[in-house]
C-alpha cells in the first residue's frame, strides 16, 4: 500500500509529462487526478491505521549511496508524523489537481502543468516518508525543483522566470546550511539514518567542536544548521524574500506548494529532529526568535499590500512563523496541529483567491475589485470561512491550533515564552485586520474595475468550487475533531508515540482565564473595526497613511529586504565576477603567463633574426671576438 501511495503520483507525472500527445489532454487530467486521489484515500486509510492500531513501518526500497561507512537507502518510513504529512500532502494535492482542471482549462500546456503537480507530490512524499537525512534532502531539493518549474510555468513572463530562479537560489542558501548539518551529523554519528542518530544522541550531549577557534556545542551547531535549511524552505525571516515573488506562478501552485505543503517542510524537519532539538536549548531559542520575528514582520507587511496573492503569501509566511515558535517552545505536536489545520484554510484561501482572479480575468490588485459578493456568492462564502478559520474565530480550526500555540508559549514560564506569547497575540490581531481588509476590499464596497464590466463577472465552474467546499469543511471541523488527538494530554502522547520526542512532558496546566479569552476577543472585535475603516469610512485611511508616510513606505516596500539583498549580494557578486574575469584572468594571468612568454619569445627571436645579416665580415668579426674570448678564458684558467 505504501508503494502505491508513493509511486502513483510519479507514474501519473511520467504519463502526463511524456505521453500526453498520445493519450490526449483529457486522459492526462483523469490519470493525474485519479492517481493522486487514490493516493489520498490510501493515506487516509494508513492514517486511520496509525490512530487506532499504532501502525508503524519502515520499508526499504533499494540501496542508494553506499560509500565506506556511509550507507543510505531509499525507504518509506510510516509513523504518526509521516502519516499526518501523508494525509495533508495527498488530500490537498488531489483537491488542487481537480481544481486545476477548471483553472487551467484555457492553458495550452495543461498536461505539463499536471505532470509538474504530480511530480511535486511524489517529491514531497519522498521527503516526508524518508528514514534518513539524505533521502529527506532528495525530496527537499525535488520539491524545490518542482516549485522552480511551477513558478516559472508561464515561461514567457520575465518576472516569472526571475521569481523561479530567486526561489531556487534562496532555497539553495538554506540548503547550504542543511547540507552542512547533514555533514556534521555524519561526521559525529557516522550515519545519517534517523533512528541510529537519535539513539546515539546521549553520547554527544556535551560534545564540543572547535570552529574558527570558538568552541561550539555540536548538537547546538547541528540544530542551527538544519534550521537554516528549514528557514529557506519555510520562508522565514532573512530567507523569506522568495515566497511573495513565487506568487508569479499559477494560483493552484500557490495553494499546494506555497501554502499547504512544501513550505511546511521546514516545520516538519524541526519536528522530525525533535530528539536533537530537545537537547539544544540555544537552538530552540533561536527558532523561537526567528519564528516570532517572521510572524510579526510578515503580518505587518501584509497590512499594506494590494496584490491579493501577495497578502495571502505574507500571511502564510506569518503562520509558518507561528509554527516555528511553537516548536521553539517545545510544543512540537501543537506546531504539527497548526500545520494540519493551516493546510486546509490556507489552501482554501488561495484557491478562493484563484477563483476571484479567474472571475476578474487575471486581475490581482484588490484596489481594482470590490462589490462582487453577490456576483460570486459561493466564492465569497468560502473565502469568509477561510478568513474566519485563519484569524482564529472561535470554534473554527484556526482557533484551536493558533490559540494553543500562544497558550503553550505562555506556559513555557520563561521570559522568552511570555515575549513569544505577547507577540503571538499581537500578530493574531494584525492577522485579523489584514484578512478582513482583503475580504472587504475584494467583495464589499463599490465596484472599482474599469476594464471589465461587472456583468461579465461570473462564478467559477463546479470543478473549481467543489474542492473549495471540501476544504471549507476541513477548515471548519479539522480543529475541533482532531484537537484531542494532536494536542490532548493523554491521547496525543499515545498517538505521536516515538515520532516526537519530549525531554520533559509538556505542561498540563491551564493559563489564566483572562489569557484564554484575550485572543478570541481581540480577533472578534477587530472585525467591526476593520469594517469601519475599509468599508464605512474609507476616507480616513489616506489621512492616516499621509501622517505616517515613512512607516507606510517601510511596510509597503517589505522592510526593503529586496533592495538590500540586491545591493549586498547580487550586484557585488556580479562586480567581483567581472573583476576576476577581466582583470585577473585577462590582465594578470594571461599577460604574465602564456601571452607574456610568447611575446618574450617573439622579442628574442626578432633580436636573433638581426644577427643573420648576411655580411661575411660581421660573422668573421663575431667569430674572432668569440675565439679570443675563449682563448683568454683558457689561459687565465
Amino acid at each position: 500500500m505504501e508503494y502505491f501511495i508513493l509511486f502513483l503520483p510519479l507514474t501519473a507525472a511520467i504519463i502526463s509529462g511524456f505521453f500526453s500527445k498520445f493519450i490526449g489532454e483529457k486522459f492526462c487530467n483523469y490519470i493525474t487526478c485519479g492517481f493522486t486521489t487514490i493516493s489520498a484515500i490510501l493515506s487516509i486509510i494508513i492514517f486511520y491505521d496509525v490512530i487506532f492500531n499504532g501502525y508503524q513501518n519502515n520499508l526499504l526500497i533499494a540501496k542508494w549511496i553506499n560509500s565506506g561507512s556511509l550507507q543510505v537507502n531509499w525507504s518509506i518510513k510510516i509513523d504518526a508524523l509521516s502519516a499526518v504529512m501523508l494525509v495533508v500532502v495527498n488530500s490537498i494535492s488531489s483537491l488542487v489537481h481537480i481544481y486545476s482542471i477548471g483553472y487551467m482549462s484555457h492553458d495550452p500546456h495543461k498536461p505539463r502543468f499536471m505532470a509538474y503537480l504530480s511530480l511535486f507530490t511524489f517529491a514531497m512524499l519522498t521527503l516526508v516518508t524518508s528514514d534518513n537525512f539524505l533521502q529527506l534532502f532528495f525530496g527537499w531539493e525535488g520539491v524545490g525543483l518542482c516549485s522552480y518549474f511551477l513558478i516559472g510555468f508561464w515561461f514567457k513572463k520575465n518576472s516569472a522566470n526571475s521569481a523561479a530562479i530567486k526561489a531556487f537560489l534562496v532555497n539553495r542558501v538554506g540548503d547550504f546550511g542543511f547540507a552542512l548539518g547533514i555533514f556534521l551529523i555524519f561526521y559525529l554519528f557516522g550515519t545519517v539514518n534517523y533512528d541510529e542518530v537519535f539513539q546515539q544522541i546521549n553520547l554527544f550531549i556535551n560534545d564540543e567542536l572547535n570552529f574558527l577557534g570558538i568552541k561550539v556545542n555540536s548538537i547546538d551547531l547541528i540544530c542551527i544548521l538544519l534550521f537554516i535549511g528549514a528557514m529557506g524552505k519555510s520562508a522565514q525571516f532573512f530567507l523569506h524574500t522568495w515566497l511573495p515573488d513565487a506568487m508569479e506562478g499559477p494560483t493552484p501552485v500557490s495553494a499546494l506548494i506555497h501554502a499547504a505543503t512544501m513550505v511546511t517542510a521546514g516545520v516538519f524537519l524541526v519536528v522530525r529532529c525533535s530528539p536533537l532539538y530537545e537537547y539544544s536549548e540555544f537552538a530552540l531559542s533561536i527558532v523561537t526568535i526567528i519564528g516570532m520575528t517572521t510572524a510579526i514582520f510578515a503580518a505587518s507587511v501584509a497590512l499594506v499590500q494590494d496584490d491579493i496573492k501577495k497578502i495571502i503569501a505574507y500571511s502564510t509566511c506569518s503562520q509558518l512563523g507561528y509554527m516555528f515558535f511553537a516548536t521553539g517552545v517545545g510544543a512540537y505536536n501543537v506546531a504539527m496541529f497548526h500545520l494540519f489545520t493551516h493546510a486546509f484554510f490556507k489552501a482554501l484561501l488561495f484557491l478562493g483567491a484563484g477563483s476571484v482572479i479567474h472571475a476578474f480575468h487575471e486581475e490581482q490588485n484588490i484596489s481594482n475589485m470590490g462589490g462582487v459578493k453577490d456576483k460570486l456568492p459561493v466564492t465569497y462564502a468560502l473565502m469568509l470561512i477561510g478568513t474566519l478559520a485563519l484569524t482564529g474565530f472561535p470554534l473554527l480550526s484556526g482557533f484551536f491550533s493558533k490559540d494553543a500555540i500562544i497558550e503553550f508559549a505562555y506556559l513555557k514560564n520563561s521570559s522568552l515564552g511570555y515575549y513569544a506569547a505577547s507577540i503571538g497575540i499581537f500578530t493574531a490581531l494584525l492577522t485579523s485586520i489584514y484578512s478582513w481588509r482583503l475580504i472587504f476590499k475584494t467583495f464589499h464596497g463599490d465596484y472599482n474595475n474599469q476594464s471589465i464590466k461587472i456583468e461579465k463577472i461570473h462564478e467559477s465552474p463546479m470543478v473549481m468550487t467543489i474542492p473549495l467546499i471540501i476544504l471549507a469543511i476541513g477548515s471548519i471541523f479539522a480543529g475541533y475533531f482532531f484537537k484531542d488527538l494532536f494536542i490532548g494530554f493523554e491521547k496525543s502522547y499515545q498517538f505521536w508515540n516515538s515520532s516526537i520526542f519530549f525531554l520533559e512532558p509538556l505542561s498540563s496546566e491551564h493559563p489564566p482565564k483572562w489569557f484564554i479569552f484575550l485572543t478570541p476577543t481581540l480577533v472578534t472585535v477587530s472585525i467591526p473595526i476593520a469594517y469601519y475603516f475599509f468599508v464605512k469610512r474609507k476616507d480616513l485611511l489616506p489621512v492616516i497613511v499621509d501622517n505616517n508616510r515613512p512607516f507606510y513606505n517601510f511596510l509597503k516596500n517589505k522592510w526593503y529586504f529586496d533592495e538590500i539583498y540586491e545591493f549586498l549580494f547580487i550586484k557585488s557578486l556580479k562586480k567581483i565576477g567581472l573583476y576576476f574575469w577581466k582583470k585577473i584572468d585577462g590582465l594578470v594571468i594571461d599577460r604574465f603567463g602564456p601571452d607574456g612568454i610568447s611575446s618574450i619569445i617573439k622579442i628574442l627571436s626578432n633580436k636573433a633574426v638581426k644577427f643573420q645579416s648576411g655580411y661575411i665580415y660581421q660573422y668573421a668579426f663575431i667569430m674572432l671576438v668569440g675565439f679570443s674570448a675563449l682563448l683568454t678564458y683558457l689561459i687565465i684558467k
Binding site: N66, E141, F155, I165, L169, L180, G577, I589
Partner: protein
Amino acid sequence: MMNIPILSLLICVPTVGALFILFTKSTEKYNSHKYISVFISIINFILSIYLWYKFDNSNSSFQFVENREWIYGFINYKVGVDGISILFVVLTTFITPLCILSVNSTIKNRLKDFLVAILIMESLMIGVFCSLDLVIFYLFFEGGLIPMFLIIGIWGGTRRVYSAFKFFLYTLLGSVLMLVAIIYIYWISGTTDVEKLYEIGIDAKYQKILWLAFFSSFAVKTPMWPVHTWLPDAHVEAPTAGSVLLAAILLKMAGYGFIRFSIGLFPIGSDYFVSFVYVLSLIAIIYTSLVALMQEDMKKLIAYSSVAHMGFVTLGIFTMTQQGLEGSIFQMISHGIISAALFLCVGVIYERMHTREIKRYGGIVEVMPKYSIIFMIFTLGALGLPGTTGFIGEFLILMGAFKDNFLVAVIASLGVILGAAYMLWLYKRVVFGELINEDLKNLVDLNKSEVIILTLLAIPSLYFGFYPEPLINTVEVSVSNLIDNYNANLEIYMANKK
C-alpha cells in the same frame, strides 16, 4: 579467455581503425568513413564493457596485466587496470562513439583526418588509463596533446591558432617537469614500473620535489587555478566534438594522474601539500564560479564551470577519505557525461544560429521543446540536483572534506549555490522568455540522431544518480586499498622521523 590481451586490444583497435580509414579512399558516399569509425568505436565500447563485466570488484590489485619487454632492462610495456582506471576506460569508450556520431556538417573539410585524429586520441586516452609504467604513461599522456592540438588548430574557430598555441604552451610546460621527474625516479629507484614502485616506495627526501614536478603537469591539465586560462579559449575555438573530448576525457587524465601517481607514489609529498591543494581548489571553485556567472559566451561559461567542477575533484582527492576519493572519481565520471552533453547542447544551437552569444537567444523553448527538456536535465545535473550523478559526486566530496577540515567544506559548499546561479541563469536567458529575435523563429528542433546522442548521455547521468552502486562498488576496494597504503606509508615515515 583471460589469455586474450584485452587491454592492448582496446588500445590498438581505434588506431588500426584510424589507419584503415587513412588508407582507404573515401567513396562517393559522403559518410562512409564516419560509419566505419563509429563502428570501430562501438566495438571498442563493447570490449570495454566486457572488460568491466569480467573485472573482479573485490580484488584490489591490478588485473588483466600485460607485461612486455620493450627496451631491454629499461622500459617495459606494462598495462593493467584496477577499480579506479577501469571506469575511465569505459567512460572513454562510451564518449568516443557519441562524439563521432555528433560530427556532422560543421566539419566541412578534411572529415577523414578529423576522424583519424579522434580515433587515435581514443587509443592514447585508453593507454593513459591503463599504463602501469611511468614512461609508457608519459608517452600516452603527452601523445594525447597532439591530436587535440590539431583538432583545435585545424578545425577550430577564428582564433584557433592562438588558442592551440596557448593550449600547447601551457600543457607542454608542465609536462617537461614531469618527464624530468620520471627520469629522476628511474635514477633513484631503478625502475619505472608502477607496481614495483608502489611496493618499494620512493625515498622520502625526494618525494616533495617529485610531487611538485608531477603536480605542475597535472595541475595544468586539470586545470587548476591559476593555470586554467587555456581551457576557456581552447573550448571556445574547438569544434563541438573537440570540446566534448576535451571536457569529458582529457581533463580526467589529470585527476586520474593525481590519484594514481601523486597519492600512490608520493604519500609523504601529498600529505605535505594538502593545504596547498585545498587552497587552490577552493579558489577554483569560488573564483571560476563567479567568473562563469558573468560570461556572455555559452561555451566559455560551461568551460569555466568545468574548472569549478574539477576544483571539487582535486579537493576530494586530497581529503584522503573514502567518501572524498570515491566522490572525486564519481564526480569525474559524472562531469565527463554531463559536460560532454552540455557542450553538445551548445553545439546544437550554434550549428543552427552560428553564434554562442547568450544575448542572441531567448525563448527558444517555443520552437525547440525537446531540446529544452534535454538541456534542462543536464543543467540540473551540472548544478548537482539530487537524483543526478552530479549530486552524488559533489555530496560525497563535501562529506569527505568535512571530515578533514570543517572550514574547507563550508567554503566549498558556497560553490554549490553559485553553481545553481550560473547554470539556471544561463538556461533562463537562452531557453525561457519571449521569443524576440526573428532568426530564432525558424529554429528546427533536435533531429533524430541528436535526440539519440543526448538521450544516451542522459540515461547514465540519471540512472547512476538514483542507483550509483555499480560505479561505487567498482572503485570501493581499490580506493580503500589506496588509502590504507597511504596511511601505512605516512605512519612509517612519522615513526622514522622520531
